[in-house]
Symmetry: C2
Subunit: 326 residues, 2 copies
């Protein structure tokens, strides 16, 4: 790819932009990728195709002055790869739609593609197509992702059973605390930077999802994007069950605890309501849980009734809604 | 679906919007559609999956005051279905990402979904998933479409051979003339309305694409979105061949000819440069062309050299570029 300097898209042109993307992402063997009307993918027996899509809008999901193009490219791909991980699948390819103002610097595009490629390649997902177009002002990004899994092994939200343990991978609330630190202009020491990195550079739990889906006792699974308060409700509703969760059991990182203490923030609230953790939330048979080879924390239990009950805390938590929150 | 009245998205909420979409588009048997992290699709032997995606941004692709929500919904699905038609495939499902200002009326969403559904169902494409999010101001739409075709039968842009005839289905320039009529505020008699309808309600040539792909003599194929001037260049470049085209042979509809005569517009220029025809452009062996059961017009011939030559006319035509045109 040639040096981008300060070429604007107005100079590069749409086909110049596509060529740039194409050079960066050659098609895998046996696949027709970028450059035709459609991508053509081989199919193999006993596998199912997984597809998901996520849109990111400047001013809603990110502010151009805050997030670097590399981080935005990473995050755009990562949140989609996370949807494949949430099913226990392996990502195979992505489709990127990019609407950019004509004044966008080509260097910005290169940075975006670098971040997009780095997380995509880490998990074996080729960029197989997309669309590029002009935007009058705001950057608008859409990614569609394809994945695969053995037929019948995809973990849905509707498979939780009474008696299951409710578990999460990793730690919760870091991303939400990172966002709060950005918005509040908190000084960026190492702890704060660690939280901000989790917000801008989320790591999709693809390997964890694959290992969990290989265990018969793992029932329902999803990724945490709106906050476990809201996301667990989706599992309960889809499965027709209830749950009790102990807020004291939520896994909190050391940086989160230190920053919350310093800033007077409520770590449990960030962990429950914050969202954008992109960790996996799953339910598992208690016997199978003992044998899991994926690091996780048990936070509650599935009940035969309905509704989500928070133990030992009278607060009621709620998740994130794009049209209700600001 | 309940009556939408004047509910705003701010009242409906994100999950209310998703529920609305979900009710309108139930998943087909055996498919996990809307409501989980991913759609899960069965695979069958001997078939290939086709995927494409297209983004439409308010202010770039449409003006909210001009296009009705029904038309916009139709067009958003149709331009994607057209990409599957362009490969000679059968559309199977779509994924809709929709970023809307919180002030959007639910009635607008219902109208959009009605148009989206009407053209999708006409061609057997289920809505299998998507994303809904808030936009600070402009409407932003992305559709990803999946299709299938027998393994090895997809028609790409790179298969044109010297000696092939260059053909198009339908008529060219109607959509561009319709857009010009809208922008110029031309009075909408029946002819003008017919052109505007072709602009707002393009008909993907799915059946034509399937029938053409069933003929071994049909080599390269694509749909006409940027204008045949620009689009044919893509086939020539991908196939490493040249072509000569006779502008006098371009198929022009009666309404287009009458409106151009009245308005003093150049019909050939609209047909070549206008774009958004969503007709099929294909190359075919001359012997096979005689046996085609799809109505079409021969407009030129593939040559062994390079470049596109316009016969009998010194004008040079060019296509559409999002970052260069206004």
């Amino acid at each position: 790819m040639q040096d981008s300097g300060h070429i604007r898209l107005a100079d590069l042109g749409e086909f110049g932009l596509i060529k740039r993307i194409h050079e960066r992402f050659p098609a895998p063997d046996g696949v027709t990728g970028i450059g035709d009307d459609c991508a053509v993918l081989p199919q193999r027996d006993g596998l199912q195709t997984l597809v998901s899509t996520d849109m990111l809008i400047e001013g809603t999901h990110f502010l151009r002055g805050d997030i670097s193009p590399y981080q935005l490219g990473w995050k755009s791909a990562a949140v989609n790869l996370s949807d494949i991980a949430a099913m226990g699948g392996r990502p195979t390819g992505t489709f990127l739609s990019l609407a950019l103002p004509a004044s966008t610097e080509a260097a910005w595009v290169d940075g975006f593609l670098r971040g997009y490629a780095e997380v995509s390649e880490r998990f074996g997902a080729a960029l197989l197509g997309g669309d590029t177009t002009a935007s009058p002002d705001r950057i608008c990004i859409n990614v569609a992702v394809l994945g695969e899994c053995p037929s019948g092994s995809a973990r849905t939200r509707s498979a939780a059973r009474p008696g299951d343990l409710v578990c999460v991978t990793g730690t919760l609330g870091d991303s939400a605390a990172g966002l709060r630190a950005i918005l509040a202009g908190v000084e960026r020491d190492a702890d704060v930077q660690a939280l901000i990195d989790r917000h801008y550079l989320p790591m999709p739990r693809v390997e964890e999802g694959l290992r969990l889906a290989a265990q018969a006792g793992v029932h329902a699974m999803m990724d945490i994007s709106d906050g476990i308060g809201s996301d667990l409700e989706h599992i309960l509703e889809a499965s027709g069950v209830g749950a009790e969760v102990d807020p004291a059991s939520l896994p909190l990182s050391a940086p989160l605890q230190r920053v919350c203490t310093r800033q007077g923030w409520d770590a449990a609230e960030l962990a429950v309501c914050g969202g954008e953790d992109y960790e996996l939330l799953f339910t598992v048979d208690p016997e199978a849980e003992k044998a899991l080879d994926v690091p996780h924390t048990v936070i509650g239990r599935i009940l035969s009734g309905r509704g989500l009950r928070w133990l030992g805390d009278a607060r009621s938590f709620s998740g994130f809604d794009h049209y209700r929150s600001v």
